[in-house]
Structure formats: C-alpha cells, structure tokens
Symmetry: D2
C-alpha cells in the first residue's frame, strides 16, 4: 500500500488519505501528476496561498524568523526579565497602564473560560448578547459552567443593543447581575459592538456588574480602551490581530476583577489567575511557557510600536476596511452589518445575492485562485462569505483578495461589472495613501 501525499502550502506529508494498492507506483511520480489517482489537495501551486480569513492571519516574515529558535530552558536566569517585559509590552494593545495582563498557553476559548471562572461562581447571574457563532459559543460556555445566563438576542449582523441591556439592568433592582459579557467584534458577522456605550449604559444604571469583553478579533487591531471603558476582563488570542500562530490566550484583568477571585467559587486550576499572579511578578510561570510564540509576540508588538502604536494601527485597519467596503459597494453587494457604527474594521462579511450559495464562492476561490476566504457559519451559512483584513496586512495584499473574490463571485454566477469593486477600493486607497515613514525622500 502506498501512502498518499497531503500538501498544505507546499508541505508534503505522507498521509493515509487514500490507498492505491492496485495502482502502479509510477502513478505517484511527481513529474507526471495524474489527477485522477492523487489524493485530495496534494498539489502545491506556484505562488502562494492567499490567506484572507479573519484569523489565523498572515504572519510577518520577521515574526516567523523570530520564532525559529532552538529548544531553550525557561528556568535559565535570563527568562524572568524577558517574561516581565512580555507582560508589560502587552498593555499597549489592551489600552491600559493599570490592568494586569496574563498569558496562558491556550486559545481565545481558554481566555473566555479564565474570564468567567476567575470572577464568577456557579449560579451567578450574567447578561450577554448573542448575534453570531462566537457569542453563541460563549453563551454555551457560561451555561456549562453553571452560570445563570440572560441572553439578549440580536439579528446576526447587529451589535450589542444598549437599550435592551439598559432594560435588563433597570429590571435588576437587586443588583443581582454579576457580569455583563460582550463579544466586541463578532467574527461571524463582521460587527464591532460599542463597548464604550455598553459602559455608559452600565454607568447610567449605576450597576456594579463586571464588564467582561471578548476582544479576540479586535484587540491589537481596533481601538480598545481597557481603562477608559473600565473593562474588567478582556480576552484575546495570538492568531488574530497579533498575527502570530495560535497558542497564546492573553487576558487583561482590572483590580476589581482580581478582587473577585477571592469569592469566585468556580473550580479552576489551569486557567486560574492566582497561580499566574503569584509567580508573574518575579518573571516566573506555573507551567512551561511557549517560548517561540512569546518571541513572535515580542516581535509583533515591536512592529505595532514602530507603526506608531495603537492609534496608527487602528487607523490602518480602518483604511483597509473602508477600501474593502468600497469594493463591496462597487459590486452592488451589501455587508451583513447594516449599521455604519457597527461595521467591523477587522473583517468584512458580504452577503451574496439570493439564489447563490456563498460556499460556492469560497470553494471556487480556493479551487481556482488559491484564495482562502472565510465561509458563512451557522445561521448565515451559504448566505455570506468573509474577507479578513486584520493583523499583518496592507492595501496591495487586500487588493489581491478583492481581485480573487471578484473572479470567484463572477464564476459563481453573481452578476457584477468586472473591475467595479477593485477600482473603487483602489481609488479610495490612492486618495488616502501616505508615504511610508523614512521613504519621504523618494517623493521629492
């Protein structure tokens, strides 16, 4: 039995996708590919895979390089200073100076869990919103952890309804609600809720509930004001705006949140803040850290700092998103998010016309143009596709995604004027382009 080859972006592996015991060995000669007999996806096209899902995102080559390191001992004496710097550097993306960042080896899902279990007890009442798959999954987690969850349902494509939250808070005369949980940027729908308004709503109700925020696809890309918005726990993951591989769950906790650890009876060990907080101040960790990812994080943060910090980074994301939205308008299509104030600068979720299956658009993009777009998930499956433009991204990269999406849309049967989208995006980008710092001399 010959083993079949699997390829992803030029990597070949011996897999067991199919068996070929009855085929001559020659069938597997790479020099003469026989499509009929090869396992699925075993071909490496020239060029590159064009990655435009809303995470994992494109990793800067200097970040990849920073992660290519030999095995190292985190108990060697250099480690503590390095780790303290890692924690300190993270504050920038949360928009905080007083918050306490914690890094877990894990994913955003783990970050969610840590936010809930370190501050709440089974039976505690929490209020949250559901307007997409990720907010749904967080609700599911809350329920499984034994919380008493009040869900404010919303249209998939809308953000957090502050008025409905106000009603719920008003009705809670006994101030029994322990926490309000909001997904800042819903990656299913391309919607960025307004956390500042949520905070105002809490304040208007003089409600003491904690404010727990999923910033997985916003923090590091969009404006995030941990301190001004008085967020209590914010959660993000490394494979989104920070543009490194998956594997770090990064949270930031307020003093108020940390104070809740004493009374929160949810059982927790791996994701317990307490073990981290006991050791982090001296630069230590309770279990082995993922060194390569920390090096990648350091370099990624260096790039964000060099760009001018979060205001500059958020401005870049807005400019990229505006170009993308101009293209959607040029095509005569609509984003799933209708409300301008909620349109996400991290990703754009595009509705396909009635009668078209958006999965087909995504499949064609991958099959013909080596372009990876985000599919429609759950309730909007088949109805939308998603273009991620967060993290390590520039306008020519995004332009190539628009080019590929346009071809795939046409191939899928969508009626649109060729070039209509890209032209609009380019005009927007051209009219707003600035000279890259240090290259000013070339423009004279």
């Amino acid at each position: 039995m010959l083993t079949a080859r699997l390829v992803r972006n030029g990597r070949k592996a011996f897999g067991a996708a199919r068996t070929f015991s009855s085929l001559p060995a020659e069938a597997h000669d790479v020099a003469s590919p026989s499509p009929d007999t090869r396992p699925a996806y075993s071909h490496t096209p020239a060029g590159r895979n064009h990655l435009f899902v809303p995470g994992p995102v494109n990793i800067h080559d200097s970040v990849l390089r920073a992660m290519h390191v030999p095995g190292q001992n985190h108990r060697d004496p250099w480690f503590p200073e390095f780790y303290k710097k890692c924690l300190s550097d993270l504050k920038m993306i949360f928009g905080t100076t007083d918050g306490t960042p914690i890094i877990f080896p894990g994913t955003g899902t783990g970050g969610w869990e840590s936010a809930l279990t370190n501050t709440l007890s089974p039976g505690d009442r929490v209020v949250t919103f559901r307007y997409g798959l990720f907010s749904h999954l967080w609700v599911d987690m809350m329920q499984r952890l034994g919380l008493d969850v009040t869900v404010i349902e919303g249209r998939w494509g809308d953000g957090a309804y502050e008025d409905k939250l106000a009603e719920v808070l008003k009705a809670d005369t006994g101030k029994k609600i322990k926490a309000v949980c909001v997904v800042h940027n819903e990656t299913t729908t391309g919607v960025t809720s307004d956390i500042g308004e949520v905070r105002k709503t809490l304040d208007a109700a003089s409600h003491p509930a904690l404010l727990l925020v999923d910033g997985v696809s916003s923090i590091g890309a969009l404006d995030f004001q941990f301190e001004n918005w008085r967020v209590d726990v914010a959660v993000t993951g490394s494979q989104k705006a920070l543009s490194i591989p998956t594997g770090l769950a990064m949270v930031c906790a307020s003093d108020k949140a940390l104070g809740c650890m004493k009374t929160a009876t949810s059982k927790r060990v791996y994701y317990d803040f307490a073990d981290m907080l006991r050791l982090n101040p001296s630069g230590n960790v309770p279990y082995t850290p993922i060194l390569p990812l920390l090096y990648g994080m350091e370099q990624s943060l260096n790039l964000l700092k060099e760009e001018g910090g979060m205001p500059a980074v958020a401005a870049r994301h807005h400019r990229l998103a505006e170009g993308c939205r101009a293209a959607v308008a040029g095509w005569g299509l609509q984003t799933l998010c209708r409300e301008p104030r909620w349109k996400s600068d991290s990703l754009t979720v595009i509705e396909v016309p009635e009668g078209i299956d958006s999965q087909k658009v995504v499949d064609i993009a991958y099959a013909k143009y080596n372009l990876s777009l985000g599919i429609g998930l759950a309730d909007v499956k088949g109805k939308v596709f998603r273009i991620g433009h967060l993290g390590n991204m520039d306008e020519l990269m995004l332009a190539s995604a628009l080019c590929g999406a346009e071809m795939a849309l046409l191939d899928a049967g969508v009626k649109l004027t060729p070039g209509s989208g890209v032209a609009r995006a380019l005009e927007y980008w051209r009219s707003t382009a600035r000279v890259i710092p240090t290259r000013e001399g070339l423009m004279q």
Copy 2:
C-alpha cells in the same frame, strides 16, 4: 533612557532590565562591551547553548524547519485529512491501537486537568502518590478540583509503592475509590514508576478504579503500554520526549474513561473531551489548532518511526541513560533514585556531596560553559542537579553535558578524578554502539 538588551541564545531584544540614563550612549556599542554597564545575560557566546534539562529539550533541525510556515487556514479543505492523520499517528507513542488520542492546545498541566475533569466528579475519592514536585502539583490540582484525595507519601527518589497501594485498595471494601493516579516518570527525582505493577496491584484487588497516568516525561521516550497496562487516561506534553516546543497537551483515553464522561459532573469546557470527540472523527476541532506545532509533531513522529518505532526509541534512551549513570558512578556520586528498577531513562538526578550547594553547580555550568542543567526543586533544592537526556538526543550530545557537568562539579568544589565520569560513559557507549542504519557500507 536607553533600553537594555536581553539575549537568549543569540536573540536580542530591547528590554527594560536596567536603565542607563546617566551613561554615555557609547557604552552600548556592541563592538566594545563594557560588562559593568550591560544588563544581565545580554551576551551571546560563540557556539551554542547546551540544553540538558528534562524538558524543554533539543529540537531536531528538521522539526524546526517543519514549523516555519506561513499563516494558514485550518478551515481550508485539506485540514481534516491532515488532522485525522495527526491523531492516528499519535497512537504509536502511547502504545495503543484502541485508545482515543486527543490533542489540546495547552500544556501537560492542562492534560492533567482534562484527565480528572472528564472522568470524575467533585467529592470522588482518588488515590495517588507523592514523591516529587510534579506528583505534588497533581495532588494539589485534585484537591482544588474538589476530589477526595488519598496520598501515599514516598521518599523523593522512590517510585510508586505497589504494596501500599494494595493496602489502600484492600481497605476500600466498598470500591469507592474512583481512580488511581500515578506520575509515571517523576521529573523532580529521576524516577520511573512501574505502571505495569500498578495495574497488577489493581487487578489483584479486583478493583474497578480508573488508572490515570501522567506520562509527561516518559511517553515518547520510554516503554509505555497503554493497552497492556489498561491505562484509562494517559497524559503527555509536546516539549518533552516529542521534542517540539511547548503547546500541545496530548492525552489518550480508554473506552472506559470515555464512558465516565456521562457521569462525571466536574465542570469543563476548554478541556472537555466531548467537544473534541464530536468533531475529531471528521477531522475538525472546536477551536483553532496550533498548526506549526502539529507540523512539528508530525515530523517528530516521522523521526521516531524511522528510528524503528518505540522499542528502538526506548532502547536508545536506555543506552543514553546507562552511559550517564556510568559517569555518575565514575565520579563517585549517587543518583537520587537508589532502586535499580525505578531509575529513569529520561533524566538522571545526581546528588552532590554534603556541604556542596547543587545550585552552585548549575550556576557555574551556565555561567562558564553555557550548559543548562536542571536545578534541584522543592524538597531536594540545593541537594541535586538534573541532566535531561530525553527526546532528540545522541551520545555525543550527552557526552558534552557530562564534560560540562564534570568541570562545573570540580569548580564547585566536588572532589573527583578528572575524566573519571566521561571515560566510563564513553566506554559504555563504545561497547554498545551500533552502526547507524544505511551507513553499514562504511564499515567494510
């Protein structure tokens, strides 16, 4: 204020280890280092860091290469076949064909948690052993998760006492004990407990308790027989024998263990087997996988397979360990583990003579020879140092560690005959060396 430089193995970073506002900028010119004014550990020596802690371990260069990949979309259609292959390939190191492997983004600590929360409920009675820091930490986790823990205490340097377990089981006439938990290889002390004997003890008592095993520093290096020993959950982590960076918690569960999921009321979401088992059969995952580490794992497993599979791998570890132990004997020192049947082939823990602080040996090794040894932890702090020889390791690598350890021992004031240790190790290795496969032609 100038930022100070931190270096770990040739990587420089701008850190805040010290400030130098009153120093002239010239002080930081790399061409003329001024030791007095430089931050700690900011120098990259020629050669390499010699890494001999019992994890993280030396990563094979082909594994590092396999992990250097662009961002990729795990929802692209090639992923499911790849992931199914990852799970299937893992069975080899567990020694199973029927067990169910699960991969979490996390660490061994997370693996521990998953083993407990998926099979047990708060209040359940478990029996375990404490003979080192890691078994201690697992006990601590059990207690924090609300289990009723019976701890069989042992000398640090001994393994699991089967006779004491037999007594406990015998006394449990109502078969209330739900699980027996054993750390297979205690990394604090260099002791490998005998899981086969533990199983026999359970069988002799006709006790139905689950057998949960921490194989973090054994699985992938030492003989492990998931099926023969009827282990119910086995746990390991990627940065140990598999010789890839930290970040994957790998567990293997028996059908009996999986059956316990229905009744186990411990709350769990991130580390819930159920979400994995719902999606894994179709090659999917409930949250983003760490692709680079999966590629590293795949290549690491390829290397183990090429070596001849686990019997050959375990034999290599035994041979390396025997050489190391010969060196210890040559120096006139003792291993912390006295019982031959428990001596670990993953690492060797060496007692220093009375009056010597083992921390000094480790510090000298790092400060003068760029050699990273394992320090004595907790109860054996200052009394022992540890040489890790698991994972991607060969005899000439380990020989260099013995050379460095000998110099550090002498520097620290230990009386020993120069060359006495290395000579013994080399003689052992020479007398047992085999020709590397495919190089036989050179020996004619």
Copy 3:
C-alpha cells in the same frame, strides 16, 4: 554616537547611515518614531514588500524552508549521490537529455564568462546582438576577454534580427566566425528573441559557429529547447525563474561545446568546465558547493515537476504575461516591445507617456505602496518601468502588482481610467483559469 537603524523587509541592523550625537536618546524609541531624525528606510511597514522586479523573485516558502539547514560537510558520504541528482534534475529546465549541466557558485555573469572562455580563444571572431543593457554587458565582456566581436545593433524593444545575422553569416565565406551569442530574454526591454529562428538561420547558412545563449531570465520560465535548437552553451542563474536566492550560475553544454575546450586558449580556472567535468561524474566538486542553495534548487525543481514540467510552467508564464499585457492595454499604454512574437512572458516593460518620468512611478510605488517595480535601465532610463512576473508567481500576486502600478501611475500624473487595467487582466485570467490539480472535488 548612536548607530542608526537600517531596515529591509523587517530586518533591522545597526548601521552608520547617520549619526545623532546631538539628539536625545529618546528620539530612537521605536514606540514614538520621529521621521525627521530617523535614517532612511528604517521603517518596517505592516504587510509585506511586494516584489515584482524581473529577479530576484519571490521565493516559495517551501524553498526558503529547504534552505534553512545547519552547516554540513560536503565530503560526507551522502553528498555524491545528492549532487549527481542535482545535475540530473537540472536537465529539465534546459530542455535536454544529452546536454551536460554544470553548476558554479556564482551569478549569471559568471555563467557568461564560462560560456566564452571554455569554448573560445582571444582573437576569435563572434557575432552577437545588442538590444538592451544585458546584451550590452555581454558584448563588453567579450571585448574584455579579447574576442573580435561583431555587434548587430537593434532597437531597444526588438529582438535578434535573424535577417541581419543571415547577412553576416553569408559574408563570412571563410567560416571564421566561431560563435553566435544571443541573449534569449533581454531583461531591460521585455523581449524574448527567437532562438529557434536563429538556429534556422545558422543552418540555412550551413555555418558551423557555436550557438551560445544567455537564458538567465528565460530558462526555467519559458520554453527552452536546448536539444532541438542545438544550443551549445546555455546560461542561467538561480535568482530568476528558479526562484531561489542568487548564487548559482547554471550552464548546460553540448558535446560540440565541450569539444572546444581542448582548443580554447582563453585562460580560466574558477570557471573552467574541465575541473567540474573531471569530478562531477563521481558526484564531487573542485571547490566547496553552496549547499543551502542546492537544497533550494532541488525543492524548486520539485515544484516545477509537480506543476507538470516545463510545458505547464511555460503555459503559466504565458497566461500571467497575457493578463499583464491586457492591463497595459487597458491603461492605454504600450509595451516597449512592439513585435508580438518577441513579447516576453518573463516580464513586461511598459512605456510611460511623454513628459512622465518612469523613475517617479517606481519611486511612488515603493514609497507609498511598498511595491518594488523594475526601473528603466540605461538607454530607456526614465522612459519605462518593468513588472517582473517570472518564477514563483500566480495571478493574484500579479494582480496586486497591477493594482499598485495603477495607483503609482495615477499618482505620477498619468491619465488613465481607474480600474481599467486590473479589470482587463482579471477578465482574461478568469476566462482562462483552471482548477488547481487535486481541488477538482470542490467544484462539483
């Protein structure tokens, strides 16, 4: 004195571009860049540098990975088989089975030198064409090596004039001309000469002159028929179509050319075929090979083989070029090459309208869009810019170059309809796109 930072694609280095002795150290904090005081080009923008010069070209990530190897000994016994395979594999791109490939550590310029010195003697008469900078430089080399060079001058934008060659050959009644030298693809002008027609011209004149061909920017990308065209020495370099870094000069010699070595009195040592041919058959080399580049070459050739070999590779280049030319037409601009049969599929050289400096287009593209285009060289400086599309390239990559070029053209004052170029390219590519092998299942 503080050293200034230089950056190229995210790499920082301490350079001496400027000194800042009078500036406060804070000016260099990466978190608050002060453009006025930073050295030129010291900024790393988000995204990536978009590389579209006609060499060096974009390197496939699997090729970069293949080159990331530790130091290795080329006298170890595995080397000879590997090197023989390297030489054998190279035949594919030359289009030969009988030719003798030789690999020198060097560049295309070195390959030129080897072609001349191994076959000719000072004073020998050669005929060649000059229609761009590279053909000019080869003429210069011939003259410096003491050859008697007859140059057929051509318009920059035209290819080899076969009729003029016929005249020269006809006039050479004594058959004194020893070689005809042709640059196959002139990278200055985007012109591919017709080597098959040159061969026919030689045959028609029954002329025995050697046919020496510079295939630096064609071989590995375009149709090249070493055997059918009876080329005697063909020359290429690694950083062009093979898409690996500079450093390998690869030549292929006919038996006729090798026969000339005996009589050729040009002095040569480093670039002598003889030393190579003495050792290569046993897999050895006269001086140290560049192992990482050989590994890169091997992987690059694997990718070309997997694509279906040179017919498929040449077809891809043609399709990319046709799309690019459609865009040029859409903009209302012209390629420097007017004759359809000579239009290069490796690169497109575009004339800017009167009154526009093409250097400005290139500078704007780099300064604002991080796009590297080729400048106009020598006689066409300021008049043209160049888009390279050879090597590791796909349509979405090239689309992004067209997007950037359009914005830069508009910024530079060229009148064109926004979107006019990209739309035409996309329509061509869409109408000619095929499903990537192994992804057919997605299209059902």
Copy 4:
C-alpha cells in the same frame, strides 16, 4: 519504479540512488525500515550531525535565522547604505582600516583568482610555497593563468620557510619577482605560517614584490594584521571562520595592489576589481549580490564584535586548540605539525599510528557516532585525520568531538587509554575558563 530517498541531516529527497522495481512498496514504509533495501545514507538519526571539519563549519542559529528572508530587490533604495556597511564591517576581520574590502559571489578559489588576475600579467614571476593540497592548488592556478611560478617545496606539516624565501629573494637581483604568495593556514596539515616573518623577510631583502595571502581558513579566526604585515591582497571565504554558508569570496586589497590593476594584463571580468570599485563606493554592485549571505555575514560579524573583536576571537580559538592538542597528547598521538610556532588554532591534524588507516577512523566516526571529521587529503591520505575547531565553536562542542574521535580511534584499533584525551582537554579548559560576560552575577 520507486525513487529512493536520500537524507542529509533530516532532509529527505526523492533521488535515484537505486531502483526497487521488484520490491514491494511496503519496503519503503518509514515505520519499518529494512536496511537491506534502503539506499545509502537515507536514515536520519536522533540528535544531530556533529560537524568538525575545517569548513564548512557550524552556523550560529541567529545567523541561520538572519538568512531566512523573502526574495528582495537589491535595487531598492535601502540597499546602498546596507552594502556600504557590509564592506566597512568586513575590515575588522582583515585587521585593516585602510585596505579595500571587496565581496564576490563565489568561493575562496575565486578569491585566489581575483588576487592574481587583478595584480599580475601572464609571464610575471611569482614565488610561493607548497606544503599541502591547498597551496598546491593555488600553484596550479598560478601556472594555468600563465604565471612563472617558483615553488618552495616544504614538508607537509611545515609552514613557509622564511630562510628559503630569503635566498630566492636575494638571488632575484633584478627584482623581477612580482609577488610572493603564501597560504596563511594550510587546511590540509593544520599549519599556520608566519606572515609577519614573511613580511620581515621581504623587507630585509628590500624587495618590492606584492604579498598575496590566502587567509581562507585563518581570517576571522586567527590573528591577521593586514596593515602591520603590509599584505597586498588577502583572501577568505564565508564558510570558514565567518561561519556562514559558502558563497562569498571576500578579499581585501592594499592601495599598492589596486595600483597594479592598471598594468596587470591578465584577462578578467567576473573577478575584476575594477567593476566593483567603480560601483561599491556608492553602495552598488555590478551584478546581483547574494542577499541572504550578506545578512548572515552581518550577523556573524555582529557576534564577533560582541565577543570583543578579533583579539578575543583569536584568544578563543587558541584556547580551543590548546585543549584539542592536550587531548592529542593525552592519547599519545602527534599532530602532523611539529613546530610549535606553526601549530594552527583553526584545526588540528592528527597522525594515526603506523598500520592504521585514518580513513577508517573518519568512517567509523560517521557511521557509528554521526561525527564528521576531516579526512587526510592527497599526500597525507590515510595517515591523518582532521578536527576543525574554527568559527562558531565552544569548548563543550569540541569536547563532544574529542569524545567521538576517541571512540572511533579505539574502534579502529588505536591503542590508547580510555578517557585520556578528553580528561586532559577538560582540565586545560577548566583551568582557563572565564565567566561568560553578563553572567558574572551567577558566580557570587
């Protein structure tokens, strides 16, 4: 026909080493290797290849990382400042401030050629020494370039005989000798000639001949005083002391040497200094540079600077060599070089006892211990083996080579006391070890 696998250090490639058409496909399953049917050297052992040949040498991991870069355009505007810095940084290793460094894409052999052809004309008389394969090859090159070569023959194991040179110079009453050529460090024999004494000999004879020096295996490792010794052209290559891959030929020329370019009639183009010198001052190059190697060179030079510059680097090499020589004495063997003042600090060449074939030692080291030692070349084939310890090297690395060499010597039948060599080396290193800079705090 199945293709066979070749492996070098964990890299697998599809090769044609053997064919297996009659074997079942299962024979190639990596999980069950069948030594009899596998092609030679197709196995990747655990650990690493231990590389101790005198070039190529071990590459620092930070240098490997620095070279892992995307394709880049050397005509982008950042390049000139970078390249000027490269040239300027190189001066350190030559020991010059006034000399002119030039970097060619090529090897040391190319550097030799450039030194000769840029300063001399066919028929010019030169004097040189032959005491090993490399000095022999340089003589051969001189003869092929048409020079009139006077060779002072020496024992293989001796250095440049200054007294014989004095005689030759004295006899040259007409001062017809144009150049004296010396291989500084003969890599065949482990001999470092005394260039300072050669200079004194020239001065004593008031002879105006140029002094051309091959410093391929010395420059960057050993003391080299371009200015004090008034060297006219010095040559080195990247894969030796600089510890990067092969591919850069680096030369340094005095003003006197540059003055000879006008009159030197040797034909030269690729290796012509003139093209370089016309463009280098503005940071440009006449043909494409090898960017990754330049980045590697930059990082390698950074490491040497950080170490304290050439005095510190040379001191490290001396200390490593002294330890190696102590081991040789401990084994009761002799170095091929007998004269203390000539013993090389770059490599040690060790004579095996009568009746032992040194090739066998090298083969056993590779076949059993994955240790790459240097073989005996040409006249000393079978009589010596070589341990390279130049470049990126520390004492524990070299200790592992001594361990492996000892085992291989014993296996080959050499009588020696086990441990006798390593013990002596360790004692020397221990007694001379210094604390690594910035780690002083650990020693308190």
